[in-house]
């Protein structure tokens, strides 16, 4: 046990210092989480989390329910603050600035960091208004620019051809899979830097799931993506890096193939081989 902790610490340190963690030289770090702790009231939800998230990669976060993976994701755009009893300590550097600083405006952060939720949650408005929501709240009113943004975002989310003739229809008329891609398009409309995805396919059928997975692969060319998933195969299929969370701790973080083929920690192995979770 002691040995394990020791191992973890050195491992974590490697990532923290930005040195090549395991195998190759990594790209730029987008998010650098340092000694992040989080409490829900008395419950210690995240324990000393250290993670680096890299540009133009898909980083998957896996772990059993209640391990803190969603909480961690929501800390990255400070959505976790919507729960009033949450406290945090440590730092999360996003592009070298600590987002947990009091004077970091969350609205600015969330404009740069988009989020896609577990259940598709389009607004009960037209498809067009859904996509234009972000640009509009940030003060873009020019109709021509908005038209361009809407088309570009819908194309980016690979749904333009399906909806181009009914942009004025309510987004609720679409299927679950289409709704989720509308939500991704809504996210793309402000051209974010990072996209956070919280189990984006858990409410979708297999075919829609496949489409979203393909889309994620496509999007990583332009965006850095962090995806929380319950589905280990999905993590193995689409991610470049995988972090395994257990009871609020990062047990292991590495290249996805390393995690899935030669995990260093017994618990990781147990989890990915389906012995618990």
């Amino acid at each position: 046990m002691v040995l394990k902790i020791q191992e973890e610490k050195t491992f974590v340190k490697k990532i923290q210092t930005g040195a090549k963690p395991v195998t190759e030289v990594a790209g730029n770090i987008v998010y650098d989480t340092r000694n992040l702790n989080l409490w829900y009231g008395d419950h210690h939800g995240l324990k000393d989390v250290n993670l680096g998230i890299y540009e133009n990669e898909v980083t998957a976060i896996i772990g059993p329910s209640g391990c803190g993976k969603s909480t961690y994701l929501k800390t990255l755009n400070r959505m976790v603050e919507l729960v009033p009893i949450v406290r945090t300590s440590g730092e999360i550097l996003y592009r070298e600035r600590n987002i947990l600083d009091k004077d970091y405006t969350v609205e600015e952060l969330r404009t740069r960091v988009g989020m896609v939720f577990q259940k598709p949650n389009p607004f009960p408005k037209s498809i067009y208004d859904n996509i234009a929501y972000g640009p509009r709240i940030h003060g873009i009113k020019n109709k021509k620019i908005l038209d361009e943004i809407v088309e570009k975002s819908l194309r980016g989310a690979a749904i333009w051809d399906e909806v181009k003739d009914r942009l004025n229809q309510n987004a609720y008329g679409l299927s679950g899979g289409q709704q989720q891609r509308i939500c991704i398009a809504r996210c793309l409309a402000v051209e974010p830097d990072v996209i956070l995805m919280d189990e984006p396919t858990s409410a979708l059928d297999p075919i829609s799931t496949l489409k979203v997975e393909e889309l994620v692969q496509e999007l990583k060319k332009d965006y850095s993506i962090v995806i929380v998933t319950h589905n280990m195969q999905q993590a193995a299929r689409i991610s470049d890096r995988t972090a395994f969370f257990l009871s609020g701790e990062v047990i292991e973080y590495d290249k996805t193939d390393v995690i899935f083929q030669t995990p260093a920690d017994q618990r990781t192995e147990d989890y990915i081989s389906g012995r618990f979770g």
């Binding site: 755009n77 959505m79 919507l82 009033p84 969350v106 609205e107 600015e108 952060l109 969330r110 404009t111 740069r112 988009g114 989020m115 939720f117 259940k119 949650n121 389009p122 607004f123 009960p124 408005k125 929501y133 972000g134 509009r136 709240i137 940030h138 609720y172 939500c183 809504r186 996210c187 402000v190």
Partner: protein, 292 residues
């Protein structure tokens, strides 16, 4: 030795089943009682009032003579009254509901506000009349005007609108709010662009029902001293006016039998207005129901 005697059970069974049937019939009659009463009430009023209901009745002013009496001033006055009550009560009610649902933290002041609203809903309407008489008619010197009555009525239906608006706001799923915050929207932007648009059908339905209560409410107007026999239409918010229920009250009190029919005709007009408002409310409710 068996404890349960089959024949005795069976014997009791028949009795129990008959009992069940008899009581079912009684409960059904209890339910029908209300419906029958409503039917009789409507039937009476329609048969009594329909004969007096014509264009002249709608366009005439009040009169000492039953066959010349009209409801014009009261109908127009009630519309003026709603013109004050609707904006005042809806703005205050929705504002309060937004505060309680979106901003209020759990503390004593807010608990007090919540408790206070539920108690206010139980205060008899005539007491609101006394409040209006002291504060609006006398202290603020608005007199027996549309404005004074409008403010009084607004306060009376405010709790109803608050509760309806709270329910409508609560029914907006939190995922919608999260989606908006996730895009970098501020709290007020989220409320204005996501929460309110989604809650508006519910708010409107509740508000229209509350307004229909206000339009039929008589007691506060009586206490404010709203006059009955007016030969002119209001020309502004500070003008004197009369209202449908006041006019009906006056006719109903008169000893001459002919005025009973006039009162019935007046009630028909009032009920038609109520029916219209309720239909609109039901239409909105059905049109926008269950969108999530």
């Amino acid at each position: 030795m068996r404890y349960i005697d089959e024949t005795a059970v069976m014997k009791r069974m028949t009795k129990r089943i008959t009992f069940n049937k008899v009581w079912k019939a009684l409960f059904f009659l209890a339910t029908i009682f209300a419906l029958i009463t409503l039917a009789i009430l409507l039937f009476r009023i329609v048969t009594q009032g329909i004969g007096y209901l014509n264009i002249d009745f709608l366009t005439n002013f009040a009169s000492r003579f039953a066959d010349k009496a009209g409801i014009k001033a009261a109908l127009v006055g009630s519309l003026w009254l709603m013109g004050v009550v609707a904006p005042v009560s809806i703005i205050l009610g929705v504002g309060t509901a937004l505060y309680l649902e979106e901003y209020a933290k759990k503390n004593r002041i807010n608990d007090f506000i919540r408790m206070n609203i539920s108690n206010l809903a139980g205060v008899p309407s005539i007491v609101f009349g006394l409040l209006g008489l002291t504060i609006f008619v006398r202290m603020m010197e608005l007199g027996k005007s549309i404005l004074a009555a409008g403010f009084t009525m607004s306060l009376l239906i405010l709790p109803v609108i608050i509760v309806a608006a709270q329910e409508a706001i609560r029914a907006v799923p939190s995922e919608q709010r999260e989606a908006s915050y996730g895009m970098g929207a501020t709290k007020w932007q989220t409320i204005l662009r996501v929460v309110l648009p989604a809650a508006i059908p519910g708010i409107l339905t509740g508000s229209i029902l509350a307004l229909s209560r206000a339009i039929g409410e008589t007691a506060p107007l009586v206490v404010l001293g709203i006059p009955v026999i007016l030969q002119f239409l209001p020309d502004g918010l500070l003008s004197q006016f009369t209202a449908l229920p006041m006019q009906i009250y006056d006719w109903a009190k008169r000893p001459q039998e002919a005025f009973q029919y006039v009162a019935s005709a007046g009630i028909l007009v009032l009920m038609t207005v109520l029916l219209l408002m309720n239909s609109i409310a039901i239409f909105i409710r059905n049109k926008f129901q269950k969108r999530y």
